[in-house]
Amino acid sequence: MTALEAARRLLGRLLDIAAALLLLAVLAVTCAQVAARYLLGVPMPWGEELTRLLFVWLVLIAASRARHMRIDLVTDRTRPGVARVLRWVAAALAAGLLGLLAWKGLGLIELTAYDRYTALGLSLQYLYAAIVVGAALWIVTTLLDLVLGPDRGRPRP
């Protein structure tokens, strides 16, 4: 196994762990909200905002590892050379668009410096940080998959 493949495996594991923990946290806060309301009689007004924030992070972290819906009618039927070119084009386009999302996401972080979640009190910057971090990681996994070929260790849908 080359160093690059080892790096991809390590990154994949870390991303999986982060995504699983975020989902577990969303589940825990959601259930805690119901429990707080019925068992303790104390509503958690910040629970909804917290789970939404965690959820956006969950999606954007897991996105770099998820299998994304695509139509492979054409790519499956062309010559291998053409299919390879199409794969490069798709990856370049993906990396470009994600780069734009990350770059303009930085702009949003700047714009929302003074906006806060009402109940949670946190800055909205934490929300837009998710797109910057998520898109950057997604670029890395896209390029790694392009160079190394599809990741076979990844769970099937």
Binding site: T30, L73, V74, V89, A90, G107, L108
Partner: protein, 429 residues
């Protein structure tokens, strides 16, 4: 013109094998640069994040998790055992078992693909071992029965619709029950008829004690939809909280009652649910930019004006909408199609006095049928590869089953009571 560039770029990129999320983003970016150069591009990440930052959408992750946990904890086998004891004796035994299993699974999972994976992976092999003909019958049955997943509550596409249309998730869930029952009965009749033609074997008769035992073994799974729907409608919790409770419930019965769930299984379920959620939600995010551009073009008004000029009656408009959605569903993923179509047609539909909930069921069922139609029918290729038959065979075998789905779609379209009776009773309207 703007719209032609937007849709053309999106379809062109998608056809070249670019993942749908990037086809949507790329087309939106190209359209903004060409026709709206003044718009700051910060709108791209803003809408992308904004499209997923919604409390109701969390339910998607939680119901995904409930479905994954169900597979990991051995609930699927209990459901199959229950279905076998109940309907295995009927002509077309294992096929009927497949329909009943999909129906029960649908009460916990909200996605057709998850249903097809869980039921198909076990049952298609059983059917082949039991001497079913090598054609695509087994695959076609599982393919069409798995449509029940998003029709019977809980349902991921119905959550997405409810968020887009401002409908109540609880009402949407209730509205899906009767159409789901009709689909299951219709598919059962077709399987009965085809079983006679293909001379399919039956399962041995199950004795009453066996039936009771299997019902008991599956009871935890059978109870889940009651808790979910009852809790939402009774006002005890929101749809999102119901998702959390469903996931926790399956987790607890998986560990305590069925004892099939260990740490490794829980971990895999979490990772797979996170990734499944991500692949749906990034499409939602990308589509919301797309939908914003469409809204900016006043497409909705143009359509409404065109329909008014046509002076068509309500039944004709509904037929035209169904045909259009069907054509789009043949090519586009249901979630992406929902996000693009619902904002365009909602004002028109409301203007005609059609109920939001009924329109939701029409749209979701219509687009889900697209998963079973070529050229881009994910379920066809999935079940064909499970059964190891060419997709064309599955498509041919699925035609009578598809006729059932289309018949129920027409019923839902033209008989409002099919969708509105249950929500009406429960909310006391």
């Amino acid at each position: 013109m703007t719209l032609a560039v937007l849709l053309g770029t999106m379809l062109g990129l998608a056809a070249l094998g670019v993942p749908l999320v990037f086809a949507l983003l790329g087309a939106s970016l190209a359209t903004l640069l060409l026709f709206r150069p003044g718009v700051p591009l910060e709108v791209m990440p803003q809408f992308f994040v904004g499209g997923m930052d919604n409390f109701a959408l969390l339910a998607i992750a939680l119901f995904f998790l409930a479905g994954e946990l169900m597979g990991a904890s051995g609930v699927t086998e209990r459901i199959l055992g229950f279905a076998r004891a109940m309907v295995g004796r009927i002509r077309g035994g294992l096929a009927q078992v497949g329909i009943v299993s999909s129906f029960v699974m649908a009460g916990i999972s909200g996605s057709a693909v998850a249903d097809a994976a869980a039921v198909g992976s076990v049952l298609i092999r059983s059917m082949q071992r039991a001497g079913y003909p090598p054609g695509g019958f087994a695959a076609a049955l599982i393919e069409t029965a798995s449509i029940l997943g998003p029709i019977i509550p809980p349902s991921i596409p119905m959550i997405v619709y409810a968020v887009l249309a401002g409908a109540s998730v609880g009402s949407m869930f209730l509205a899906g029950i009767l159409p789901g029952v009709l689909i299951a009965l219709g598919l059962g009749l077709i399987a009965y008829w085809r079983a006679g033609q293909l001379a399919l074997p039956r399962e041995p008769r199950a004795t009453l004690p066996t039936r009771l035992r299997e019902t008991g073994r599956a009871s935890a799974a059978l109870l889940a939809p009651v808790i979910i729907v009852g809790g939402i409608r009774g006002g005890a919790f929101t749809a999102t909280e119901a998702g959390g409770i469903a996931a926790l419930y399956v987790l607890l019965i998986g560990v305590l009652v069925y004892r099939g769930l260990n740490i490794g299984g829980l971990w895999r379920a979490l990772v797979r649910a996170a990734e499944g959620t991500a692949s749906v939600l990034v499409i939602l995010g990308a589509s919301s930019i797309f939908a914003w551009i469409i809204a900016d073009q006043g497409v909705s008004r143009a359509f409404a004006a065109a329909i008014t000029r046509l002076d068509a009656s309500r039944p004709v408009v509904l037929l035209l909408l169904n045909l259009l959605f069907f054509a789009i569903g043949m090519f586009l993923d249901p979630i992406a199609a929902l996000i693009i179509l619902v904002p365009i047609f909602l004002p028109l539909v409301q203007g005609l006095g059609i109920d939001l909930v009924q329109f939701g069921v029409i749209t979701v069922l219509n687009l889900m049928i697209g998963l079973c139609t070529p050229p881009v029918g994910y379920l066809i290729y999935m079940t064909a590869s499970m059964a190891d038959v060419p997709p064309a065979t599955v498509i041919r075998e699925s035609l009578p089953f598809l006729a059932v789905l289309i018949a129920v779609l027409l019923l839902v379209t033209y008989v409002p009571a099919v969708t509105l009776v249950l929500p009406g009773i429960v909310t006391g309207r």
